[in-house]
């Protein structure tokens, strides 16, 4: 094949709008958080306006890219750039989760045992004598008013109660959604659009179910277990890891939903051209793998 020109858009207004939106978003977010509990604060409107500009611009930006693709502007080489770009983006997400998993690993294997008087730095126990290390940490070293202690953790409840244990269902739901999105991909490759739409629809539904189950779990934790962000390091790691994962499930589910509507309403995608869907499905598999790690290190072990 002869060389096809690499498409370089002449200029573009989208990026500067996104940069402005990010500015508004973070100014609004920081202002809102700093002003928590002050009803007269207006920062939240900055946050909203940032979000609105962000969402709208992103919509037009992606629409432009899709149109360029349909017009045949993008060469095979450009498509490869997208593939690489998505791959490296997912790698950056992996490293983001690595920071939180690293924190979990560190507190479980080092700092909590040290506070309890074990190991080489067990000297730390002199800070709060009598603190006994265990995981989950159900009573914090300093059990003062700063912490609301939980009376139950989210860990593996034993075989007897396994079926009533939400995380198990979450795992089943998310693992099967990874399979269904794969079926969707296979269907697309076989040029079976109907089956593609169905499997993708099933996947999006499973994503919604997952988010619902997790909401139920959080409600349970706050309302019945007394487990909150405020209940010490166990609550901190639990909610941060599962929370950021849940947020990524929502983003991934949203991406898949967009792909579904593109397919249903605009008849996008054919057996050879479906990078948008593929990228979303990679992201989905990534979210799934993170969940498996969570299930192992946050819930089971």
């Amino acid at each position: 094949m002869s060389y096809q020109k690499y498409y370089v858009p002449e200029d573009s207004k989208y990026p500067i709008y996104i940069a402005t939106a990010l500015f508004l978003l973070v100014m609004g977010a920081a202002g809102t958080i700093n002003d928590l509990g002050k009803p007269e604060s207006n920062s939240v409107y900055i946050l909203y306006s940032g979000f609105a500009v962000f969402a709208i611009t992103l919509y037009f930006w992606f629409r432009a890219v899709i149109r360029e693709h349909i017009a045949g502007l993008d060469s095979a080489q450009l498509q490869k750039s997208f593939v690489f770009g998505m791959g490296w983006f997912i790698f950056s997400e992996v490293m983001f989760f690595a920071a939180f998993f690293g924190a979990l690993f560190y507190v479980r294997n080092f700092s909590v045992p040290w506070l309890g008087g074990d190991g080489e730095k067990g000297l730390a126990n002199m800070l709060w004598e009598g603190f006994e290390a265990s995981w989950p940490v159900m009573s914090t070293p300093d059990a003062g008013s700063a912490f609301v202690l939980a009376d139950k953790s989210m860990s593996w409840p034993g075989w007897g109660n396994a079926l009533k244990w939400l995380p198990l269902w979450n795992t089943i739901v998310l693992l099967s959604s990874s399979v269904t999105v794969h079926f969707a991909h296979l269907a697309l490759k076989n040029d079976n659009k109907k089956s593609f739409n169905t499997w993708l629809g099933v996947t999006v539904t499973l994503a919604l179910i997952f988010v619902g189950l997790q909401a139920a779990e959080y409600y349970e934790a706050y309302a019945h277990y007394g487990l909150t962000l405020n209940s010490g390091i166990y609550g901190s790691t639990f909610f941060m890891l599962t929370g950021f994962h849940g947020f990524h499930v929502m983003m991934g589910g949203f991406m898949l939903a967009v792909m579904l509507s593109r397919s249903v309403f605009y008849n996008h995608f054919d057996p050879h051209n479906h990078f948008g869907f593929e990228a979303a499905s990679w992201y989905w598999h990534f979210v799934d793998v993170v969940w498996v790690m969570l299930f192992l290190f946050v819930y089971i072990l």
Binding site: K5, V8, D11, T20, N34, L78, S81, F84, A98, A99
Partner: protein, 528 residues
């Protein structure tokens, strides 16, 4: 499909730049974006430099003369943050933007619109950071390493803005790095195999990988801070079962690779310049690549050398000591190769070469003090003294920043089509060279004598060297005004440059005219 391309409406490659301000706001051109990054970096260099002048003025004499201690802390913090994230990193990204596509024979960066976004986030992020100076409670005052609990329990309210500014800077770096990697992996001209790539390209491939690996970790660290400050978590709070030392582990897991992010591109630049002005082929190309790759990999397992004194288990102290010393091996290989390249070369000493040679010598001094710091028991003495300040300023100022200046002198004829004024360039070099050494060399001594870092006042016995150090700093600061003048003068005019510019220069960027046309290599060149 290719037919569609040619017939499509406009063939943008024949266009020049748009007119007016929107050229810069909307541009997708890697040369425009490179210039934006470089100018932004220079502005930050001046702002961060002004803060350094405040610091050195206060330290000119013992006692408190000029600023309040609280404000001193803010200056120190902002100086560090601005120089690292605002001056050095964007300068290297700017150079990557200008040079990587031309060096690999690509028409532009792989994802041009995202490239524009990566840049335009930065002015906003630094606007937020600087505006914190005017917020209630003042700007961040906890040092550029923002250790918890200084940055959590005891932080001013502006820390929330700082956290979010770091988030978007991180987003900018990640997008910028993805762009660089994809450009290098996917856009090389036919025939340019990996092991034929110019070393600057190699250095950036590795740097971009490091950036994508560690910027998200930094984002994680500031997110945990945010949660600890506002939402009751106890990641860095031992009372709740967390650990303030955990913050240091996460920060330095980012921070050590970060210091290599600021030096690897400098390695690439030095290799090109030394090769050109020695009129010889670089000695040991392959070993240069391997050295950079091993430095990058090792940089992930040395972070706790910043934490020898916080109370690590003995095994960790030993492991991190040896791992750190191991880095000296590939670093030594590089220095050896540069020196060997010059050996028996027919060397001429234009300004870029002066900066490059000074880079090799002074960076090596910084490497040696690094080795001293790497010796755990010795670091118990050196840690948190001015010796550390001397160490990292030797690797960063005559290291990273000299390499950036060398790069500007070396490539500015390609960017502007004009030669810079060689006499003024040399003057700038000598003033900077003397200024840097007068500023930072005495800091080794006052550090060894026990002067702690991050203090606005000090004991009398340190007075003499501090005064000399401040004089050096004012000289260095002032000579950067000359640098700005030289650059502006070159942009306005000057002796016309030939395409090759330098007698000994090689590489694709020297095959196009000077100034480089707005679009280069719209069809890829052939590389043998």
């Amino acid at each position: 499909m290719s037919a569609v391309i040619e017939s499509h409406g406009h063939d943008d490659h024949h266009h020049g730049p748009a007119k007016g301000l929107t050229r810069w706001l909307y541009t997708t051109n890697h040369k425009d974006i490179g210039s934006l990054y470089l100018w932004f970096s220079f502005a930050m260099f001046l702002i961060g430099g002004a803060m350094a002048m405040v610091i050195r003025a206060e330290l000119f004499q013992p006692g408190m003369q000029i600023v309040e201690p609280e404000f001193y802390n803010q200056m120190l913090t902002l100086h560090g943050l601005i120089m690292v994230f605002g001056a050095v990193m964007p300068a290297f990204v700017g150079l990557a933007n200008w040079l990587v596509p031309m060096m690999v024979g690509a028409p532009d960066m792989a994802l041009p619109r995202m490239n524009n976004l990566s840049f335009w986030i930065l002015p906003f992020a630094f606007f937020i950071l600087l505006s914190s100076l005017f917020m209630e409670g003042g700007a961040p005052n906890f040092g550029w390493t923002f250790y918890a609990p200084l940055s959590t329990t005891y932080a001013p309210p502006s820390v929330t803005f700082f956290i979010f500014a770091v988030h978007i800077m991180g987003a900018s770096s990640i997008m910028g790095s993805i762009n660089v990697i994809v450009t290098i992996m996917n856009m090389r001209a036919p025939g340019m195999t990996l092991m034929k790539m110019p070393l600057f390209v190699w250095s950036w491939l590795i740097t971009a990988y490091l950036l994508i690996a560690v910027m998200p970790v930094l984002a994680g660290a500031v997110t945990m801070m945010l949660m600890d400050i506002h939402f009751g978590t106890s990641f860095f709070n031992a009372a709740g079962g967390g650990d303030p030392v955990l913050f240091q582990h996460i920060f330095w897991f980012f921070g050590h690779p970060e210091v290599y992010i600021m030096i690897l591109p400098a390695f690439g630049i030095a290799s090109h310049i030394i090769e050109t002005f020695s009129r010889k082929q670089l000695f040991g190309y392959a070993s240069m690549v391997w050295a950079m790759a091993s430095i990058a990999i090792l940089s992930f397992v040395v972070w706790a050398h910043h934490m020898f004194t916080v109370g690590l288990p003995l095994a960790a102290e030993l492991f991190f000591m040896w791992a750190t010393m191991l880095i000296a091996v590939p670093t030594g290989v590089k220095v050896f190769n540069w020196v060997t390249t010059m050996f028996k070369g027919s060397i001429s000493y234009e300004t870029p070469m002066l900066f490059a040679i000074a880079f090799v010598v002074l960076f090596t001094i910084g490497g040696f003090s690094g080795l001293m710091l790497a010796i755990t028991p010795a670091d118990f003495q050196y840690h948190d003294t001015y010796f550390v300040v001397a160490h990292f300023h030797y690797v960063l100022v005559p290291g990273s920043i000299f390499s950036i200046m060398a790069a500007v002198y070396y490539w500015i004829p390609k960017w502007t089509g004009n030669m810079y004024d060689e006499r003024l360039g040399k003057l700038h070099f000598w003033l900077s060279f003397i200024g840097v050494n007068v500023t930072f060399f005495p800091q080794h001594w006052i550090g060894l004598a026990g002067m702690p870092r991050r203090v606005p006042d000090y004991a009398l016995q340190f007075a003499d060297w501090n005064m000399i150090s401040s004089v050096g700093a004012f000289l260095f600061g002032a000579s950067q005004i000359l640098f700005m003048y030289i650059v502006l003068k070159t942009v306005m005019g000057g002796k016309k440059a030939t395409p090759q510019v330098w007698e000994g220069s090689r590489g694709l960027e020297w095959t196009v005219e000077s100034p480089a046309p707005y679009h280069t290599f719209t069809t890829p060149p052939k590389v043998n």
